[in-house]
């Protein structure tokens, strides 16, 4: 069992490719110890709402932990996840052909540098690659964005605890959005309670399990306070947010005033005979980033004000 190894050779990248890889490796390290601005602001807001000593103690520990993680530049939670990239790239972005290699190597290098935990277990052979890369890890989801020369990507550390509540199901249209509500709410009390609340809840509505699941994950990439553009979907976001908050999971599920940082819905059209629905959750330590590059690799970090790589 301990003799199995995963073969990984660092790729020969172009000089520009190397630069992009190095910038991304730096950014991954930063994401591991610094929460995005929207999450930090929301946690500070939620902390003020809790009044009981146990809940206050938990929030105080969280705030102290983030201060220490930033100061010592160590991953704030040991589960630095299986890395995921959600990419939107123009067809004329100059490094398109090298992109998959750049992303995988950035994870490989960040794992040593940060350091990140080794979270890639080869399935069926059942051994840890000890490099944080494996078959299909990091996972890369790419969307072609017309003919532009730019690229933007969400970088997400999908931890085990908050991945566990993930579920997708295809409902009959007769079950309606009422069925969507039941599906999401049931998941909160069965699994959400253990997924490190206050949670960010991502709900996907579409046709099938994979389209709904992808939408629910993209919903976690949006800011915690963002709103769906569709009025009915936005209404559902607010109803679910209030509803889950009223369950009173509290920080870590110990009970308390609030349960969630927010609920985001992402929706696409559906087949008339089905309603695909999925839920994904992000824990309070929601370590996701957004980086935008132009063709010369000038970058922007919209979720991390004041951060430079």
């Amino acid at each position: 069992m301990d003799t199995m190894t995963y073969d990984y050779t660092e790729p020969l990248l172009s000089p520009k490719g190397q630069r992009m890889r190095d910038l991304l490796a730096d950014y991954i390290s930063i994401i591991s110890h610094r929460l995005p601005d929207d999450v930090t602001a929301k946690l500070l807001e939620l902390q003020k709402v809790e009044v009981d000593p146990l809940q206050k103690l938990v929030y105080d520990t969280m705030m102290e932990n983030q201060l220490l993680a930033n100061k010592l530049k160590r991953p704030s939670c040991q589960d630095t996840g299986a890395l995921q990239f959600f990419v939107k790239v123009g067809a004329r972005f100059p490094l398109l052909g090298e992109l998959n290699q750049i992303l995988k190597d950035a994870v490989y290098r960040a794992t040593k540098k940060a350091p990140l935990r080794h979270n890639a277990v080869q399935t069926f052979d059942e051994f840890n690659t000890r490099m944080n890369v494996g078959d299909g890890i990091p996972s890369v989801f790419t969307q072609i964005d017309g003919n532009s020369t730019n690229i933007e990507m969400y970088v997400y550390m999908a931890g085990g605890g908050c991945t566990l509540p993930g579920e997708a199901k295809v409902l009959m249209p007769g079950e309606g959005y009422e069925g969507v509500v039941r599906f999401v709410m049931d998941r909160m009390t069965s699994y959400g309670v253990n997924a490190c609340p206050p949670l960010l809840v991502g709900v996907g509505v579409a046709t099938s399990v994979e389209t709904a699941a992808m939408n629910s994950k993209l919903a976690l990439m949006r800011r915690v306070d963002s709103e769906n553009e569709n009025a009915n979907a936005a209404k559902l976001e607010h109803l679910l947010e209030d509803g889950i908050n009223n369950i009173g999971l509290g920080p870590q599920g110990f009970g308390g005033q609030k349960s969630v940082m927010g609920v985001n819905v992402v929706n696409t059209a559906r087949h008339p005979s089905t309603i695909g629905v999925a839920v994904s959750t992000g824990c309070w330590s929601h370590r996701r980033g957004l980086i935008k590059f132009d063709e010369d690799l000038n970058y922007e970090l919209p979720y991390n004000k004041g951060v430079e790589l």
């Binding site: 301990d2 110890h33 146990l54 103690l57 938990v58 520990t61 969280m62 102290e64 932990n65 220490l68 993680a69 160590r74 991953p75 704030s76 939670c77 040991q78 589960d79 630095t80 350091p115 990140l116 935990r117 080794h118 979270n119 277990v121 840890n128 000890r130 605890g161 249209p173 309606g176 959005y177 009422e178 969507v180 509500v181 039941r182 709410m185 049931d186 909160m188 009390t189 309670v193 253990n194 490190c196 009915n232 209404k235 559902l236 109803l239 679910l240 209030d242 509803g243 889950i244 009223n246 369950i247 009173g248 999971l249 920080p251 870590q252 599920g253 110990f254 009970g255 309070w284 330590s285």
Partner: protein, 203 residues
């Protein structure tokens, strides 16, 4: 909510008055122990290579820095979902004589039975606070079953003032999370009814 400071070795008497919702800080020996280590002991009948009797285990997979010469540094350590170990924990407590099981979220009826019968506690460290916890680790004194990789290795640590640990199952077998769950589910049903009236988008 009372606060206790426990030092290993821990006796039955040390923990008999501690109740769910109380806070514990730990001094002494704490060994990380999770999925495969539980499976090896309970299903594969392999003896645990670390003596955890009257001591504490932590459901966790830490980030460790290998300093060479068999020396390791704890970089970040927080708990993982305890419920994954529920299947094995009753037998684990029976066989090892462990007194404190630290993890994340609640555990189930098997652990309740074992905590009552063999006098042990399940406690929750607020998850995600891995740097705060790592700084309470004074030294990593042993590493066993390293073939399992970094997260699953049994890392034996000397800790000081490790906490806050919130008691989730006590020696009466009372279960904080199960009590909360009943309340959460009642509230949930009421909320579902309220929301469902407002989402008839298919007309």
């Amino acid at each position: 909510m009372k606060t206790y400071h426990l030092t290993t070795p821990i006796s039955d008497d040390d923990i008999k008055d501690i109740r769910i919702g109380d806070i514990v800080y730990l001094n002494g020996s704490l060994t990380t122990c999770r999925d495969v280590a539980h499976r090896r002991l309970v299903e594969e009948h392999r003896p645990l290579p670390v003596d955890v009797s009257n001591k504490a285990i932590l459901h966790a997979g830490p980030i460790i820095k290998d300093k060479g010469n068999g020396e390791y540094e704890m970089v970040a350590v927080g708990p993982t979902t305890s419920m994954r170990m529920e299947k094995f924990e009753e037998e684990f407590i029976k066989q090892t004589g462990v007194k404190l099981i630290v993890g994340k979220g609640g555990m189930g009826p098997g652990t309740e039975r074992a905590c009552k019968k063999y006098k042990a506690l399940h406690l929750v460290y607020p998850a995600g606070n891995a740097v705060y916890a790592a700084l309470k680790v004074q030294k990593i004194v042993d590493a066993q079953w390293k073939d399992l990789g970094m997260p699953e290795t049994l890392w034996s640590c000397e800790v000081k003032d490790y906490g806050p640990l919130i008691v989730s199952i006590d020696t009466n077998g009372d279960n904080l999370f199960e009590k909360n769950k009943v309340l959460f589910n009642e509230r949930k049903e009421a909320e579902i009814k309220k929301i469902q009236k407002q989402v008839s988008f298919i007309k």
